[in-house]
């Protein structure tokens, strides 16, 4: 069976162990953040954040504009350091391994921790197929064979709930898709390399309500395959799609709790003020 073979190859390529659906009784920590600080120049935007992101859960990060939630997210796949004049201190462990360790390359981390941005970013020179397969080209060991790529592309597009809409035009340019389709394409592109974690940075901020709903349903489904961290401005969205929600304010993590608890019975007065609309 082609898929099984591909799975074995991906396990070999990415070092990922195939994992089944979550065991609801047991919480497995996928990403552990400990004492994280992040700076732009001399401005500190993330202050001493410690939080766990559990495997096969969707964790939403909410907070007012400029509270450091996006920057915190960008520290989880070492994207923060790609901007000039930035600095990170503290520790982020992916399955027990510090991603800021001395012998760890940022590139290998980004293969395991996928990211989707606020605005859709399809590569405009590539077809839909090549866009989804783009991450496969830079896997160690080189691009898989064409047949394998087709299998992976189809699976990724199915995971991103886009397959039925694009299966007849995989060779078309990706910029011809609608905004919502482009964003799901970006999710498919991030999923194609079988990451362990998927980071979503306000993925619906530039989309219309119908596309937003499609993405939200997708995020809800994705937890079976991957650990999801989603930054959002929209509290209703956080409540709809996430298992747990973290609230950040002025660079600090105020509290993190199961979403049903955080939105109905927050433990901190500042959280209550924010979710009841008293500020932000």
């Amino acid at each position: 069976m082609a898929l099984a073979e591909t799975d074995r190859r991906l396990v070999r390529l990415t070092g990922r162990t195939a994992s089944g659906p979550a065991d609801p009784g047991k919480e497995e920590t996928r990403v552990a953040v400990r004492g994280l600080n992040a700076f732009y120049g001399s401005t500190q935007v993330v202050r001493d954040v410690s939080v766990d992101f559990h495997a096969h859960e969707v964790t939403a990060v909410i907070g007012p504009s400029g509270c450091g939630k996006s920057t915190m997210l960008r520290c989880l796949n070492r994207m923060h350091e790609t901007a000039p004049d930035t600095r990170v201190s503290g520790c982020v462990e992916l399955d027990g391994r510090d991603i800021y360790g001395r012998d760890v390359s940022a590139i290998s981390i980004r293969r395991h921790v996928g990211m989707v941005f606020q605005r859709p970013t399809p590569f405009p020179t590539m077809s839909i197929r090549d866009n989804v397969g783009a991450g496969l080209r830079v896997l160690p060991g080189g691009m898989p064979a064409r047949g394998e790529v087709d299998v992976i592309v189809e699976r990724a597009l199915r995971s991103a709930a886009l397959w039925d809409e694009v299966k007849d035009r995989l060779s078309d340019n990706a910029t011809g898709l609608s905004g919502g389709q482009q964003q799901r394409l970006c999710i498919a592109r991030a999923l194609a390399t079988s990451p362990r974690v998927l980071l979503l940075d306000e993925p619906t901020a530039s989309l219309d309500p119908i596309s937003t709903q499609a993405i939200e349903e997708l995020v809800y489904e994705l937890r079976r395959e991957v650990t999801v961290v989603i930054v959002t401005h929209n509290m209703q969205q956080a409540a709809r799609v996430s298992d747990r929600t973290a609230f950040m304010l002025s660079g600090e993590l105020v509290e993190v709790a199961p979403s049903s608890v955080l939105f109905t019975n927050p433990g901190d007065a500042r959280t209550e003020d924010y979710i009841t609309g008293r500020f932000g």
Partner: protein, 314 residues
């Protein structure tokens, strides 16, 4: 005399004729109409001025093309493209050596100017604020403003004199050096049009920085870079001054790179300043062909930009 329409009592054109409209209301309506008429007039005048300006901008081009066709078309024949220059007094003759010479020189110049220019442009776009980038950007602007004859003298001093004679090489270097700043700046501008988000998307997928630059950023900007490069090619194809001390011109067929070589601008220059009527007529035809070559290059540039997807260009 200016009345603000909104501040007047209900003075719509329809209301103005109602019997109960007072005298002051009618006067206000009259003022409003006068203002509107004045605005419409000013609008017409300004649009006319702009049409005139646009026409004046393209007038020189139209005149040049018209004149070239009128003077040069009669001397243009198949012979012009395949025959060598004929001695004075002998009928016919063409500029085959000059046409091929120009193509050889453009090829040489591109071989130097394009790789250096595109590489420098990529560097400037990737390291926008580094000290070397600031210096390079400034010097490339200076180089761009350098009179082309100075470039010719430079090539003469450093290539023609040491090599002991005029050559196609030295002309290629002079023209290539003229291309570098043009290609550098257009490449930089085109790469800067590529959104940062695209670069970030590639990095987030596990692309290395070099790979992001080469396969995503450069590829996305490629149509624009092609256009900019062809504009530079078109620009240097007609340069004459740098060739005077380098390519020198050649009456005979030669495409040897270490020998003097003929070029259309040179041949036009020699023929146009000659006292013979048939040579001057050929010079017009040569100018027409030179413009034709530049036009063909521009059309290829447009086509290349349209045919591919990506940003920039056009």
């Amino acid at each position: 005399m200016t009345s603000v329409p909104g501040s007047a009592p209900p003075t719509s054109p329809a209301g103005r004729h109602k019997p109960h409209a007072t005298r002051s209301q009618r006067a206000a309506a009259e003022r409003t109409m006068r203002t509107l008429r004045r605005r419409r007039l000013i609008n017409r005048v300004m649009v006319g001025v702009m049409y005139l300006a646009a026409l004046l901008a393209i007038l020189p081009l139209i005149l040049i093309l018209f004149h070239l066709v009128r003077e040069g078309a009669s001397s243009l024949s198949l012979d012009f493209f395949i025959r060598m220059p004929a001695p004075v007094g002998e009928a016919g003759g063409g500029m085959a050596n000059a046409i091929v010479g120009t193509l050889v020189l453009v090829g040489l110049a591109s071989a130097i100017g394009l790789p250096v220019g595109i590489g420098a442009g990529l560097y400037l776009a990737e390291h926008r604020r580094s000290r070397l980038a600031l210096v390079t950007r400034f010097l490339s602007d200076v180089l761009n403003g350098l009179p082309s004859i100075v470039m010719g003298i430079f090539a003469w001093q450093f290539l023609v004199r040491p090599m002991g004679g005029f050559s196609a090489y030295s002309a290629g270097v002079a023209l290539g050096a003229m291309m570098i700043p043009l290609v550098t700046r257009s490449t930089e501008e085109m790469i800067r049009l590529v959104p940062v988000s695209l670069r970030e998307a590639a990095l987030a997928l596990g692309f290395s920085r070099a790979r992001t630059s080469l396969t995503i950023v450069l590829r996305t900007a490629l149509p624009g870079i092609v256009t900019g490069s062809l504009v530079a090619v078109a620009r240097i194809a007609g340069e004459t001054a740098p060739l005077l001390f380098t390519a020198f011109g050649n009456q005979f067929w030669s495409i040897a790179l270490d020998e003097p070589i003929d070029a259309l601008p040179l041949r036009i220059f020699y023929y146009a300043t000659s006292p013979y009527d048939d040579w001057r007529a050929l010079a017009w035809a040569g100018a027409l062909v030179l413009i034709g070559i530049v036009l063909v290059i521009s059309i290829i540039a447009r086509y290349a930009t349209r045919a591919r997807h990506g940003l920039g260009g056009d």
